[in-house]
Amino acid sequence: MRRRAGTVLATAALLLLSVYVLFPFGWMLVTALKTEQEALRIPSTWWPHQPTLDAFVVMWTRKNYALYFFNSTVISLSTAVLSSAVGALAAYGFSRFPLRAGTFLMGFILTTQMLPGVLLVGPYFRMLSALGLYDTRTGLVIAFLTICLPFATWMMKGFIDSVPRELDEAARVDGCGWLGIFLRVVLPLSLPGLVATTLFAFLLAWGDLLWVSTLTHSESMVTVTLAIARTVQEFYVNWPELMAGALIGGLPSIVLYLALQRWFVQGLTAGAVKG
């Protein structure tokens, strides 16, 4: 009996929590489907009377969101691939070789993970200008390595540590070199971890606002997050359009997460739980 009561209570609590979690997403969509006139009605209508996709069309075509979306995609994908590849190499080195400076270097990488972006953004303007990379996508990818590479290394090390060393030995007996062991044995066996790490790096890069606000100035380099943040600061805000923009900006993260969520959740939690 008491157990039943507990389940009822937990169900009710989760129901409430689901409303808290999901309502903002629903409201974004409902608002984006309204005309501006209807969005400004007091009190709000719960459902669009004349649902329209105009806001999405305007954002995607007239307001350049197609370009912003392209910029965000290219930058985030490059960052994700680069940081998980370099991170995986380093993780393999830390995991499999008795490095004298190993602990020191791991500590170094962990510490770099703590440094706030605002400690670095100032000099970046001058650094990238000197290299001719200010206001380029490449410049942003370099900057995003500061967020993504440290944690990618740590996350990958957790996964590579869990691949049994006996398999390395077996591959070596079969004539594999160090790189061969890494590419043919260790990496395939830590694939879920690699997927989780790459996705996490992608989400971090995609969601950034600080760096894109400081390292770009031309319209052709704007990313989705920057576009959304700029719009909300304008004097006059068209809310259905802004909500459509927010949905466009959130969609890749949502879709990729839902597609890969099994590996992603495993990957996020593996490091925290073991040991």
Partner: protein, 300 residues
């Protein structure tokens, strides 16, 4: 793992001979990451540090820090950041723990909830900021509609411009954004607690509170520390949500350290002062995360 193989091979003798050239190869694997981090991260960090002690004439001195420490705005922003972080992180932990305990039980559709609940954490924090800004809009916002319809207030609340409501609104949005991560981590922690511990405790006559207190909480200790540390580090650095939702206002009442350094640097062009503030923020952040770093490194 390392310990086991060392013990098995009696580590100094045969293993050393076998792997004489290993370290060099190992450093080759590690080098790209370390070199990149030095170039893209350590170098700019040191540049900021140098800038923070560079005086107008070009000589070195700590005057910017003196100026910083005697600036009431700096201390106000430190207090606001601390309040924002403490409130956000404690709410994340409480709500995350509650949700994890509920989901770990025999609730219908708990698998679905677990997947869906992480969505707010997955989307950019700018998106979180503006959707809450819209919900909390004083004139057209749906929250005021609901409160008025339920006769809980008789006039619309100024969620984002009222001096005492604006910080709360930021936290409300940030709790929405951040608790799911803690829930997912704690849920994995709960599932790693062996079931027979609970059975043994029940046999010893432990009630549900005692089981929670003496089995669940100790079993969650490590994941709680990890969640607390990561969440604190992330929330101290939070930028996009604040920037999109309030921009630091009304006045400077919701400024946090990230947004304030950003403004000092890129709006007021006080490069040296902004650098000093960024260094101070980093010192605070490192001090807060030091126990975590030590715990992780000891495990290594």
């Amino acid at each position: 793992m390392h310990g086991v193989s060392r013990a098995a091979t009696g580590w100094i003798g045969p293993r050393r001979a076998l792997r004489l050239r290993e370290p060099a190869v190992g450093y080759l694997f590690v080098a790209p990451a370390v070199v990149l981090l030095i170039a893209v991260l350590v170098y700019p960090a040191l540049t900021t540090l140098r800038l923070s002690v560079t005086l107008p004439g070009g000589q070195l001195g700590v005057q910017h820090y003196g100026q910083l420490l005697s600036d009431p705005l700096f201390w106000q922003v430190v207090r606001q950041t601390a309040a924002f972080v403490v409130a956000s992180v404690s709410a994340h932990l409480l709500l995350g723990l509650g949700a994890a305990l509920a989901v770990a039980g025999t609730v219908p559709a708990r698998g679905l909830f677990r997947v869906v609940a992480l969505l707010p954490w997955v989307v950019p924090d700018v998106v979180a900021g503006i959707v809450w800004k819209w919900i909390l809009n004083p004139l057209y916002g749906v929250l005021n509609d609901l409160l008025m319809a339920g006769r809980l207030v008789d006039q619309p609340l100024e969620w984002l411009t009222h001096p005492s409501l604006a910080p709360l609104s930021l936290i409300l949005a940030n709790v929405w954004r951040g608790f799911p991560f803690v829930m997912v981590i704690l849920l994995a922690g709960l599932q790693s607690i062996p079931q027979d511990l609970y059975e043994a405790a029940s046999l010893d006559g432990a009630g549900s509170w005692a089981r929670f207190r003496f089995v669940t909480l100790p079993g969650l200790r490590k994941v709680l520390v990890v969640a607390l540390a990561l969440d604190t580090i992330w929330e101290v650095r939070r930028f996009g949500l604040v920037q999109a939702m309030t921009g630091g206002g009304p006045g400077t009442l919701t400024e946090v350290l990230s947004t304030q350094v950003f403004k000092q640097y890129f709006q007021f062009y006080r490069f040296e002062y902004a650098s000093a503030m960024a260094v101070a923020m980093t010192v605070l952040l490192l001090a807060v995360s030091l126990p975590y770093v030590r715990m992780i490194m000891q495990e290594e």
